[in-house]
């Protein structure tokens, strides 16, 4: 712990010396990540039609101490959420007297790969749904329980638990199902649309300027493979729609509702932009 404090202090010292700023940061770190012996692909070759050649996990843009926290499951504060999710798995709720466990008895096996392949086409609602919405769907249809409120702690914990079962697996969407391609198109349009009084698009920050420092933040490619992520600034797990809304709010724009068509389209497109990166949930970010 002591070395960490010293490290943090020296990073601060770096920041206060303007001459060092430009040279100290830029490219993503050259580092490898394995968690619990599981190799994590923090770089990947971009899929066809992608504006980048190489994809980088947001992990590579964080300071060494933040990276170290994610490397060690015992130190990763996001693992509390995962453990809460594991406990919620067997909690009976709703009129049907069931828990998640009633239908999925072995989550470690049954949920493997699930978190790597969402958003997925949902034929019933005729739109892509993410893990959060799939959990709500199970609660309403199979358990007779209320859907969670957006960002309820249980929603974040269960999502983190499910995604964690795919730790290390490459993100891969099936865009051939239903109208996924149409939603991808809509998400892409959003990604390049400038919003707010500051007139900024996602691409301005995460495509044109990834690698640069904006204030104290090292701009990454804005990948979603680590969500829900544990943010040190907020001392909590942060959902992907919460993050999207935060970035949109920072452009001084009104932001869309969580799980709205706009944000589901954006999640579909941005998830595709990280194809091949490993699921890192729960990632640790600043």
């Amino acid at each position: 712990m002591k070395t960490k404090v010293i490290l943090a202090a020296s990073v601060l010292a770096l920041f206060s010396s303007p001459a060092m700023l430009v040279t100290a940061y830029g490219d993503p770190a050259e580092a490898e990540l394995s968690i619990d012996g599981e190799k994590i692909a923090v770089t990947a070759a971009a899929p066809e039609g992608h504006p980048f050649d190489t994809l980088y996990s947001g992990w590579l843009y964080r300071e060494p101490e933040t990276r170290a926290l994610e490397e060690d499951s015992f130190e990763n504060p996001g693992m509390f959420g995962v453990e809460q999710g594991a406990e919620l798995w067997s909690v009976v709720e709703g009129s049907a007297g069931k828990s998640c466990e009633s239908c999925h008895a072995n989550p470690e096996e049954d949920m493997k790969g699930v978190g790597a392949s969402y958003p997925k086409w949902d034929a019933d609602s005729k739109r892509p749904i993410n893990i959060e919405l799939q959990i709500d769907k199970c609660r309403e249809e199979n358990m007779g329980a209320e859907p969670y409120k957006f960002d309820a702690p249980q929603q974040k914990a269960l999502t983190a638990f499910i995604k964690h079962q795919s730790l290390g697996m490459p993100v891969k969407l099936d865009l051939s199902e239903g109208e996924m391609q149409k939603w991808w198109d809509q998400g892409k349009e959003m990604y390049y649309t400038r919003t707010g009084q500051l007139n900024l698009s996602c691409s301005n920050c995460h495509e044109d300027h990834s690698g640069n420092m904006i204030r104290a933040d090292h701009l990454s490619q804005g990948q979603v493979n680590g969500f829900p992520t544990y943010r040190l600034k907020q001392s909590a797990l942060v959902s992907v729609h919460n993050r999207f809304r935060g970035c949109i709010r920072d452009t001084r724009a009104e932001f869309p509702k969580a799980f709205s068509d706009d944000l589901m389209a954006l999640e579909t497109y941005v998830t595709w932009r990280g194809s091949g990166l490993s699921v890192e949930t729960p990632a640790v970010r600043q």
């Binding site: 940061y25 707010g196 009084q197 500051l198 044109d208 904006i214 204030r215 724009a253 009104e254």
Partner: protein
Amino acid sequence: MTSTLRALIVASGFGAVALAGSAMAQDVKPEAVAFSDSGGIETPVAAQAGSAEAGQKVLTDRKLGNCVACHQVSTLDAPFQGNVGPSLDGVGDRYEPDMLRAIVVNPKKALYDGTIMPGFYTLDVGKHVREDLVGKTILSAQQVEDVVAYLQTLKE
């Protein structure tokens, strides 16, 4: 009360307002700002001359220009300066005041359309602007002139 007296009272009572009003009226409205053929803005947008000292504050204040989020100025004692944009050291040598003004007012016109740098005195903004900011510019005309005055002091 005679009409002359009434006129006098009205005149003295509204004098200050009328004066401030006329000073305001001389600020160029964002939609009326004229770019020259070379892309600069020759006429100051505010009625009063800019103050470099006030401009320095606009550069570092997160709620105002927040310019150092993206730019670095070595002589400024502000933490966490960014490098999304070029360093502003020596920018007063590189550009004439009319270009500096145009870059701050609307870099999409002064530099190039795809730049990330926001326009600080333009209504040509993004979609879904936050409700309370609709029709408003990021900086006032006076703050733009203050920033332009400060940028001119940045010489090598």
